[in-house]
Assembly symmetry: C2
Homo-oligomer: 318 residues x 2
């Protein structure tokens, strides 16, 4: 007899009781989408939020995984439960320990208070930008106080996912390049905290100075000015200071009301993303049907231009 799929509510209860296998199944459900995913989504949305969602981003090779590993340790030292999402939009794999440098985090594998998950699926409607907030809610529902979201690169997907965090750490390296590079990648806008990692290498002071002068130009007076923390994740140097700085940013957000504002904006952005995905699927996807085929054929024959074709499809009563 085939194994009966577990009831989402039962899985959520099991995950809340510390069952990591149940938590893993919930995340898989959410990644795959569908009716049961929807039920998981409702339950975890209602179950409450993480205290602090921290995004960790920066160029490949900057040492984000090692730094994440140190932040897990710091969070555990302060008695917090930690969920980690390691997001790699370019990887065909998902669901666990396949990615090589995720292995390092396995030093926390036996720690009941840590759950690490890699996500790379493109299966979710709307992609990782929509899957990430749902996965964050699953981790929070299972008891994570702190959720660390590590992204692999600095592309558009990463910037979108950073939008799901309360605090974003941008990791740079000494000699990583001039201020222009960071600005071009859109990192200046999303950074709440900078970590100059591998700061034992030559050029760390210059990199810090470059960042400071960029910040001089870009930070409006009175706003939070992103602090720059020097770290060497491989030895753990500076990582406690980074953890403290992240906690200070959280306090700042709460004190100024910006935390509520950010989370409100996150929800509205997610709503927009969900709607656009659904509409795209309904109007242009497999379910679009004969009407779409007919209008598309007229477009390709150049009897209609794209704007008039869109009007025909969107206002069929005309």
């Amino acid at each position: 007899m085939p194994k009966r799929p577990a009831d989402p509510a039962a899985l959520v209860r099991a995950a809340q009781g510390g069952d990591k296998a149940a938590l893993g199944r919930l995340l898989s459900l959410v990644e795959r989408g569908g009716t049961r995913a929807r039920e998981v989504g409702r339950l975890t949305f209602a179950a409450g939020q993480a205290d602090h969602v921290i995004g960790i981003t920066g160029a490949p090779g900057a040492g984000k995984s090692t730094l994440t590993d140190c932040l897990i340790a710091a969070a555990r030292d302060s008695g917090r439960q930690v969920g980690v999402l390691a997001i790699d939009p370019t990887s065909p794999y998902s669901g666990g320990a396949i990615l090589g440098d995720r292995i390092r985090m396995q030093r926390h594998a036996l720690d009941e208070g840590v759950f690490v998950r890699s996500m790379a699926t493109r299966g979710h409607l709307g992609g990782l930008a929509l899957a990430a907030p749902e996965a964050i809610r699953v981790l929070a529902a299972a008891g994570a106080d702190v959720v660390l979201v590590e992204t692999v690169g600095v592309g558009q997907v990463e910037v979108e996912i950073a939008g799901a965090a309360d605090t974003t750490v941008v990791v740079v390296n000494p000699g990583w390049g001039d201020a222009v590079q960071a600005a071009k990648a859109g990192l200046l806008e999303i950074a709440d905290v900078f970590a100059v990692n591998k700061s034992d290498r030559p050029g760390a002071t210059e990199t810090r100075r470059d960042l400071e002068s960029m910040l001089d130009m870009s930070t409006p007076a009175g706003d939070w000015r992103p602090p720059i923390v020097m770290t060497t994740a491989s030895t753990g140097n500076g990582t406690d200071e980074l953890w403290t700085t992240l906690a200070e940013h959280r306090s700042h957000l709460v004190r100024t009301g910006e935390m509520a504002h950010r989370r409100e904006r996150q929800l509205l952005d997610e709503l927009r993303g969900v709607m656009v995905s659904r509409i795209e699927q309904n109007v242009l996807g497999a379910g679009a049907g004969a009407r779409y085929e007919e209008v598309a054929a007229a477009l390709v024959r150049r009897e209609l231009d794209p704007y008039d074709a869109a009007s025909r499809l969107l206002e069929p009563e005309d």
Copy 2:
């Protein structure tokens, strides 16, 4: 008395007669959007297509503007009329000669057969990715046989705009970085032709070799394999060969039927873009009204999750 706005049909006729001011006004209309833009769009869609739309992309500083300048000269030498769109998504300016390095192209300013236009507007519904194909059609309607579309960087916008070209040239420099960099930026997938520009500098041979070995791995047998042309745009060296190679790619597209296929795909992509923009505007924009406000408020109060909120908005009869 205020000047009466010119009739779009009259503007198109004037542009076809060589009136550059009329052509400029048509492009401004299309950039701004609205009812008259729609009329311009219809007229220019019906007026016929350019023979060859060429996209020029690559990292900032690679020498794209100087190379574009050489391609204008080569196209003019072969008796073609040339339209140029210089697209800078990051610039707040639009509509002409404001951008510094556009100035160089002004050596063609008095040539009746060349029209250069900078575009940076965010005003167009759907952004530059939708404004570019419309502007290309305006240039074609005004008589451009060849349209050169130069983008400033290598981001997502650039890749989308490259989708509007028949042939895409990716410009790299010696020592510009290893094969991985180009692959990461998604340039390998969009390149029909590579130009190794500033090829008088050290490292040009290595860069060519790196590109060749990437192509060895990525080009399926039987497909067009992107040729690599060594250029020095500042002296004009190699730019005639580049022009010939672009023409060869066009012949290849026509011979294999791929030209018709690409232009068909461009239209369908544009249709999708137009629909998504309109839907976003209708459902989420200023016109969304009280219903949206009400559902968004319930979402922010966390009474509904984003998915149920989307369902309420998209299926109001439920």
